[in-house]
Subunit: 350 residues, 2 copies
């Protein structure tokens, strides 16, 4: 790879904007921005990101037009959680021969839910010399890549349990709404039945990635419907006041069944009454490993971190559909500019 | 790679024997065993490992003779901590075109202390199509690969602190002797001056690996001489009774200096009065990450785990001298036998 990294960003929602800023801060350039929202199309990306300067890149709704003329190394797709939803954008990028990193939860390990489509994407990517990775803090890191990494010290693994506990009261209103904050238990269940509340998307993907890394053939993956966690007392969040007995948040769980028992158990808990945030991984095996990140890892900050940090690994990888378990060890990237003669940025060499 | 994995083991000390057993348990075969100890040469490996059966492999002191006729995929070198000490064995294996994994601490990241020799090994390995990796639980995993992995979720990293605290009273007598257990403070310092007590070997290697993964240019790496930790009360271990004021163990520390401050600080503590074992990693950055493995990871079990688990990754890697940061995410291996028609082992499919 020569010269500076040129990226295209798909999706300028909250995450897309944060990722775009993260990419720019590390010295890569953004040569195209795609979003169909009326208030965004035609605006300069610098303005959309609130940078106080223009970047000479106008947001466009016409991805095809952009990709047929822009020269880019990489597309970052931050638009949707489900694979079918990003498929047109994904295939467009692949056919243009550029690598893709996406926050799409299902793309983090698509082989379980979409085996046929995964094969097609892989073949298409190989044919066009593109590498495709779905990642983020979760799925992509905390509940799959990190437990996989920890098993690397084990002679034998019998079971893995991963728990992520997040205080939702600190999160954006849109997030709190997504987990049903403030609803009555009945409203919550109705919205779960109607798929309006889905709980955390990615548990099945994380389980399938772990099983694949360990060479485990599972009997199956069971995803439990999200369960409401009710407020025991009145809770005040920036988004809502939750009365006692109403929904403070939810618990999502999924099991990877092996030999009739839940050999991989993942639990995602997020509500407004969490007293201590944490991410924990317990591995039953030889040796036993009990790992815990006190305070947890901030979801939005971590997702931007993972996406940006994986850029050099994806650009260096062989073409095809890859997942976090296939790439070299993740690591923080300080500078996305090519090595060689460069202008030092203030502070960067401190 | 076709057929079963054939390995040669160099060094049948405690670690070498444990690794050999680990390799056999996972269905690989050992086609040669090298050790020069008088009591071992000529014995069947099965007898040396206490398997209660012979393996048809006699321990030999003649590595050259063995390598000139044995057909192997991989050599595991578990003989010494310093690179110069394993160099003859390493070069012999490379010239025979077989991959190498070694517990040699300096090989975990040899580029800092031995830049010239590292280049030579890398070139030789590329020329002969061999991949060479130094690894183990530490260096190789807990104090380098794992912190590197965790930075993968960070947008910015300002500092990394890693602490490993081990209860030495549970360890082998040879280990307790190595850390000075039972000595007077004066005897301890004399043995440190005489390099008879070295503390943990690998801190500088771990720091250099982390810095390289982060793209950090360090001002330098400072290794502090090991400091004695004195017993405050009488301590009884299976190896010794340690009177008050005498040495219960030691603390090894090293700093990676960047911008005049210890941006990477590693501390290894091992003594007979440890109340709680743990491995902790703190990353100052965005987001901040405070990770801790309660109870720590058992050193001997973990080293066997890491060595055996990296076998498939090393066999699949491009030739050359590699380190843990270059290879795909570590993961536990249940079975080293090639996929395809196989005889199920009892229990392995449970």
């Amino acid at each position: 790879m020569e010269g500076e990294i040129k990226a295209i960003i798909f999706g300028l929602g909250e995450m897309g904007k944060r990722i775009a800023k993260g990419v720019l801060e590390k010295g890569a350039s953004i040569v195209g921005a795609v979003d169909v929202a009326e208030g965004l199309v035609g605006k300069d990306l610098g303005e959309v990101l609130g940078l106080g300067r223009t970047l000479g890149v106008r947001v466009t709704g016409d991805a095809w037009g952009l990709l047929s003329k822009a020269e880019a190394d990489l597309a970052i797709i931050a638009t949707a959680s489900h694979l079918e939803a990003i498929r047109p954008q994904l295939e467009l990028c692949i056919r243009a021969g550029i690598d893709v990193i996406s926050t799409c939860e299902e793309l983090a390990y698509p082989h379980h839910k979409h085996p046929e489509l995964s094969r097609e994407i892989d073949e298409l990517a190989r044919r066009h010399g593109a590498t495709v990775l779905g990642t983020g803090i979760n799925p992509g890191f905390l509940m799959d890549a990190l437990p996989i990494m920890l098993t690397g010290a084990c002679q034998r693994v019998e079971g893995i349990k991963v728990v992520r506990v997040m205080d939702s009261s600190k999160r954006r209103p849109s997030y709190q709404r997504k987990i049903g904050t403030g609803l009555s238990p009945e409203e919550f269940r109705r919205m779960v039945d109607g798929k309006e509340i889905t709980g955390h998307v990615g548990l099945a993907e994380s389980i399938a990635m772990i099983a694949s890394a360990l060479g485990w053939k599972l009997d199956g993956i069971v995803e439990f419907p999200p369960e409401p966690i009710l407020a025991e007392r009145e809770l005040r969040t920036p988004y809502a006041t939750v009365g006692p007995g109403r929904v403070a948040g939810l618990r999502s769980a999924a099991h990877g069944i092996r030999g009739g028992r839940p050999a991989i158990a993942l639990e995602f808990v997020s509500h407004a009454a969490v007293e201590e945030e944490y991410d924990s991984i317990s591995i039953e095996g030889v040796p036993r490993i009990c790992e815990r990140i006190a305070g947890g890892v901030h979801g939005d900050l971590g997702t931007v971190g993972v996406i940006v940090n994986m850029i050099p690994k994806v650009l260096a990888a062989e073409p095809g559909l890859v997942t976090m378990k296939d790439l070299p060890l993740p690591s923080a990237v300080e500078d996305l500019r090519p090595p060689g003669p460069r202008t030092p940025r203030a502070g960067s060499l401190q």
